[in-house]
């Protein structure tokens, strides 16, 4: 059973083609996520997301692998492999779905594959942020919301 998923949406005033390039190409990826990115928007292409420690200059790279490239509608990749060097084992699947919306594009993000059931609670962030006044308030909501998510499936 896998119901650990993060879902997010954002509207952008740009064509699906432009949005697709931004979410898929390493030269854009490094502008919105890691310090640097190496790879290609090609199915099966192995890529690296690279972070650089500002103080020590040391870098850390995380493997990702492109899974789907359906320009300009869908792009997905896996990352956070439990065995990063071999790109094997458990991993997270990030999917961008792009839908034309007016003159722009609706970008829908899902991140799934979290091994532990606890992860789906992360989607609470957007619903609870305004309401967190203390854990006494938060945790009851956590249970109710997650139950609703699960039973909706």
């Amino acid at each position: 059973m896998e119901y650990g998923t993060i879902e997010r949406e954002i509207q952008v005033q740009a064509s699906p083609e432009v949005a697709f390039a931004v979410v898929s190409r390493p030269e854009h990826l490094k502008e919105w996520w890691p310090d640097d990115a190496v790879g290609e928007a090609v199915v099966g292409a192995p890529g690296e997301l690279i972070w650089r420690d500002r103080e020590t200059g040391r870098t850390e790279s995380v493997a990702y692998t492109v899974v789907e490239v359906e320009e300009p509608r869908r792009f997905s990749f896996r990352w956070c492999y439990s065995d990063g060097d071999l790109r094997q084992g458990e991993s997270l699947l990030v999917t961008f779905e792009l839908t034309p919306l007016g003159a722009g594009t609706l970008i829908r993000l899902t991140e799934s594959g979290f091994r532990e059931l606890g992860w789906e609670a992360a989607v609470l962030e957007e619903h609870c942020r305004e309401h967190i006044e203390g854990w006494n308030h938060f945790v009851p909501r956590l249970g109710v919301y997650v139950d609703r998510l699960v039973s909706a499936r």
Partner: protein, 134 residues
Amino acid sequence: MTAAIEVAIDDDLWSAIGDPTRRRMLDRLLAAGGGTATSLSDHLPVTRQAVAKHLGVLDRVGLVHGSPSGRERRYHVDEAQLARAVAQLSSVGATWDARLRRIQRIAEAIQRRQDEHDRTAVTDQPEANDTRRI
């Protein structure tokens, strides 16, 4: 936010808080200010034995602490540890929100540049523009 922080998921802690029954138990312990396996099972559709097992899981990751109370152990929630778990859960969604906002900014900047380029091209060199579009 570095990759290290993001990837360093505390699996045991998440697993512990991820179970719906255990979350209901935490809710109940917080609401009642503590409880025993017996008092919790009175309010949940699970046996006392199952509750005791779940309490063991929560105890191992430090989400609850127990102390002897008569023939049972009375548990209360470690709010600092719970805060830590919830912060981990929240940070993932928040980081994606931030990334998506950056994606939006970049895509819209590129679009504006392209539109600007198209307008210029249409005015100056209609033929060249037509060719480029094909």
